[in-house]
Symmetry: D3
Subunit: 141 residues, 6 copies
């Protein structure tokens, strides 16, 4: 490995480390498990989720982590078929300070724009996450 | 609770009751199970599915229940990732008078507009529902 | 061209002719314009829309043309971004006997499953088609 | 019109009025224009956008208007093909207190979950809205 | 059955046979299993997957089988909710000569256009398929 | 700006330059126009399209540029509503060596998986691009 390649590898590691710190803070164990599961099939995808998604985008101060999760809940609900990612990000939403009531209200709100089926699918993921964290029942909303 | 709040709560209950009657007629037990499952996580979403979706929209006479299910089968197939809702609504389609042949033909038709993968996903939900109701095999279509 | 190739070309033409008859009955001029527009860029796609979509699927008696359009309106609304096809098929829906009120009610119904944005996009296509055919205003629905 | 029908019509008007107040506060003129455009094609859809979407869902205090717009921007970006609604809601986002920088950052964030094409489509709608409101260029983000 | 009906049935069988040969070559057992599973619920859908999808489209020489699978991987990843079809087609991609590294790289590439959630969902299907075929770990990509 | 910040800014510029070289090679002027259009609304999004999308992902040798465009055509067709990006990438497909016939065949192929409406939308974008580059009519396919 020449000097220039060492330099580039160093840059790459720096961004990964910065992303890993952010990933751990936001997604907790759920994020780490996804990266681990990618190790034997697509390690570069795992690297980019961390180094780019978290190291470069999430770490920008222009939008606070709580607000990023509100946008993310909206996107994952609307995309459909992203239940595994919703599970990680509903946990993340709780980790960065959204209340259970705010989360369920955001999913009720999603019915207006995405229709009931996608709102229901997302809500049943929230039920699983809230159940695991002892947050059920959600106070009458 | 003041007079005005009592008044509003009464309105809310009226719409819910009208919707519940329609939901039971169309979706049968499947609809009720969805509402029950929402009770501890997002009861307001359950209320709105019933009071708005069924009490206000389904109950309008401008489109008969059978036709609403044809449109609904098309939408749920096209959206993708809505297998739980398709299960409820393929049951509903049978409940309101669509024949098994009309349902499978609608799903064959969906291949033209949504492609084979979504047509196949919806068809395998129909297979599950028809199997549970003793409707297999569907007469040569 | 050998006997077997002549045979195959004959089959191909037969299916196309059968499809063209159905296309004309359902979509009218709108369908023909789409096929014409494909002639210099992807004539095989035009052939398959006619020969397969209309010659093989639409021509099956298991679902009547009116019901096929109800399913199709649901799918095109749910898919999103299919305004040109919705324009053809809202015309088709009128051609095969759906009333303006049934069509707008189907689009109102779609809000429950797809959300307001897609219901609105489809409704504004209906407004264009109904306007061109002198069907506005739709009687109070 | 009997007593019971008068009662129901009164309820219906009450919810519409409450929704109209909220719609005006959030969407401003853009919302009103959508409702007006529905008058001759699907007035019931216009009624329900106002009475249900704004009167019943938006008016709930469990999520503040600013947060509802963050979720909504995420959903409309992810759904795709909803540029007319994005235009209304990027205006709405500014109306309820999101800064131009927060909005563009949310759209940058959307690239992580929805990919660049949908992030770009939404961003060019923001460019149109910000341009009309004299908010360009957005301070270096 | 008259002469004309015999003629048409013969055509139908010819196209099916040609499609079955292609299906077996591309999808192997996975394709056959899908067709078998349709026999009692929607045999015409199974017929059309084979006779049209494979007999008429896949069999055209304008795009080689390897390239068709690259396009198909892109489409199934982007559509979302098509994990069963992705499983068949990641097997197909290997069958027609795409290397494991090319497949995982295509899925990494999909993150740019579809976002990480859909890229991850598709990658975990690849992990299942590669695991069953003894292709894990994929050499450092 | 301290030493560490200078270092980071240098890294950032390096990746951007590498990406710009790739973007120009693949997308030509169309790519540059998109980046320019982002300058006053979301320059960071423009930076990331170049530095990440092209500098980090496109520049990897595991999949050749021609194959990346086949996957990309599939994704953009399936996503729907991405006509502006399809225009850039059908140009890109021609730039990196796909023939007009391969491109139209890929779009015909997409009908099998995405349905006719999305195949048609993508094909009419190809018609525009091919027309501008004097490539119509495409030889009988």
């Amino acid at each position: 490995m020449g000097v220039s390649e060492q330099h580039e590898a160093g840059q790459r590691q720096e961004r990964f480390d910065r992303g890993m710190e952010m990933l751990t803070r936001v997604d907790g164990e759920g994020g780490q498990r996804v990266i681990d599961a990618l190790a034997d099939i697509n390690p570069e995808l795992g690297h980019q989720v961390v180094a780019w998604g978290f190291g470069e985008i999430y770490s920008r101060p222009e939008l606070v982590p709580r607000d990023r999760q509100l946008v993310t809940l909206g996107m994952l609900t609307a995309l459909g078929g992203c239940e595994p990612q919703l599970e990680v990000h509903i946990n993340a939403a709780l980790n960065v300070g959204l209340t259970p009531t705010e989360i369920t209200e955001a999913l009720l709100h999603s019915a207006v724009y995405c229709g009931f089926p996608k709102a229901l699918n997302a809500t049943f993921v929230a039920k699983k996450v809230f159940g695991e964290r002892g947050l059920l029942p959600v106070a009458a909303n």
